[in-house]
């Protein structure tokens, strides 16, 4: 029991803070932080665990959102089924494109993903105009039926649902971190040749990680879709391609709490700055360059040593007292 508490205390504190945030901050803000945290966790999984940098994350976000949107506009009305459709759709999509992509060298991988992001944008804006209504986007807010326990059309209930989903995704990340699979991912990132020599198929490790991470991004996309009741090609806009990478680095790459801290800081900054100046891109670009030149450790990466020091000090002190 003690070990369990020790392992999971961090998470409890983090999510207690998030729940506390709900009390003091407006609901839309808190919801966006949570959804963006899932999106960032996906990028963090890819970049921090397997070492694959991708500038095409909006593509996967849009795939999830559009599967949900199409389901809710044409077939069904249950938002839970819509989210499920988004998850399944993006998982299938990643399974198909994965083998092409994960074979590539890291630099090619990032560029190919950015190209994919632009292609998805073209696809939903022009090519599939008949189904997706191009720039106008799909609006299905009226199509969603209310569900008995957690009504996703209701903002407050939607926050609770998102909170539970984020908690689940975080626990999943934590679990994979401690498992053999997480170790295999880390080893693939650090020394691929040695992994091959040990008899692992690094292709399979990467492929599965690619599918898991981008399905998570798709989940974030379908949450966005249900939340807004609306999807548009802007979701896959290439100009937004770096945002999630910025946030991942801002929070701290490869850390568990990084995505939460990063997405909180990012959404807060976005709301504050976009109300002050319209020129949001200029700021995020400069911020990115600054973080990279300053040492790429991010918020959590800089905080972690301090926190460790404090807890270590307490441990050192406590035996002498008792």
């Amino acid at each position: 029991m003690g070990r369990l508490v020790k392992n999971w205390s961090g998470i409890l504190v983090a999510f207690f803070l998030l729940a506390l945030m709900r009390l003091f901050l407006p609901v839309p803000f808190a919801t966006e932080v949570l959804i963006f945290a899932i999106y960032t966790m996906a990028c963090n999984f890819l970049l921090g665990r397997v070492g694959l940098l991708s500038f095409g994350q909006p593509a996967y976000l849009a795939v999830g959102a559009y599967f949900t949107g199409l389901y809710l506009s044409y077939w069904g009305s249950n938002p839970y089924m819509g989210i499920l459709a988004g998850i399944v759709g993006s998982a299938v999509f990643c399974l198909i494109v994965g083998p092409f992509f994960v074979r590539l060298r890291s630099d090619y991988f990032a560029l190919v993903n950015l190209a994919l992001c632009v292609i998805i944008y073209f696809l939903v804006e022009k090519v599939l105009m008949g189904i997706t209504h191009g720039d106008e986007g799909l609006s299905f807010l009226m199509n969603m039926s209310s569900t008995p326990i957690l009504d996703l059309g209701n903002q407050k209930d939607f926050f609770i649902f998102t909170f539970l989903v984020t908690l689940f995704v975080w626990i999943f990340c934590k679990y994979t971190d401690n498992s053999v699979y997480g170790a295999a991912c880390m080893a693939t990132k650090m020394n691929e040749d040695r992994m091959i020599f040990l008899g692992y198929s690094t292709f399979r490790v990467r492929w599965s990680a690619f599918v898991i991470a981008n399905t998570m991004a798709g989940l974030a996309g379908s949450l966005y879709a249900v939340w807004f009741g609306y999807v548009s090609p802007d979701m896959s806009a290439p100009a937004r391609a770096a945002d999630v990478v910025v946030v991942t680095i801002l929070g701290g790459v490869g850390t568990l709490y990084g995505p939460l801290a990063g997405s909180f800081a990012y959404i807060a900054m976005k709301d504050l700055i976009s109300s002050l100046i319209s020129n949001w891109e200029l700021f995020i670009g400069l911020l990115l360059v600054f973080i990279m030149l300053a040492g790429e450790r991010g918020i959590w990466g800089s905080l972690e040593p301090v926190i460790k020091k404090i807890s270590l000090k307490r441990k050192m002190e406590s035996p002498t007292k008792t």
Binding site: A110, L116, V118, I119, A241, L282, G285, V289, L293
Partner: protein, 289 residues
Amino acid sequence: MDITLLTSSIIFGLSMGSIFFLMAIGLSLCFGLMRIISLDQLLYYSLGAYITYSIVTVTGSFWCGAALGMVGAALASLIVERFIFRKIYERDITFSMITSFGILLAGVGGIKYVWGLVPRPVAAPITRQVAFLHTNIPEYRIIIIVIAFLVYVAIWAFLNKTIIGKAIRAGIEDVEKVEGLGINVYRLFTLTFIISGALSGLAGALYAPIIMVGPDMGLEIIAFVFMVVIIGGLGSIKGTMVSALIVGQVISLGSVVYAPLAKMAPFAIMLLILLIKPTGLYGSKLLKR
């Protein structure tokens, strides 16, 4: 297919391929020598186009504008190289990619701040058309193709015939040995970066009369430039030219056949080529990281 339509679309594709080539050569050279992916080339491209627009509206002379656009882009690249890239040459390749994406976004934000959000038209310097095989072809497009060809020849001559070019080629093979010979590689890096920036600026300036000059023009062309670079293989000048021609032709001939899919077709070709050869047509296998 109609022969006149075919001729004009081939010329159209060649001119588009020329622009892609001018853009992609910067990315390719930077990767070959410095091992960085310099996404900020797209910023110099927009900058070149915007400077051309400003000069054209003030003085009315397009060629003067294009020349100044090139110089402006070269200056911007010099500043960026001095203050940012100098510090990150030793770092991992993904590092330069993220940093240069930051520079690109910041630069696009700056452009929006200076010139505003509205796309601007640039008057074409030459509106004359030439009769060729029963079709009328805009002379300006032919001039673009000629300029791109001259640039290719000039780059080839520079890399193969001059001593600095030979040092750059040696640097592409092995930077440490070149350094060991007493050559200041950082000066080579700066030179290569300025050449890349100037060529991107030239591409923007030349493309400005054909498209509207807008703040997002760099992000619109980004996918095609990447496809050119990836199909050709990073670090190879010849591969860049070949793949620029392929992508240009695929887009223009594809839009004759079925317009909505024309912009998707290069992506399919890229996937196909990567399936057969993961490093692109002429990419080297040496640089596994």
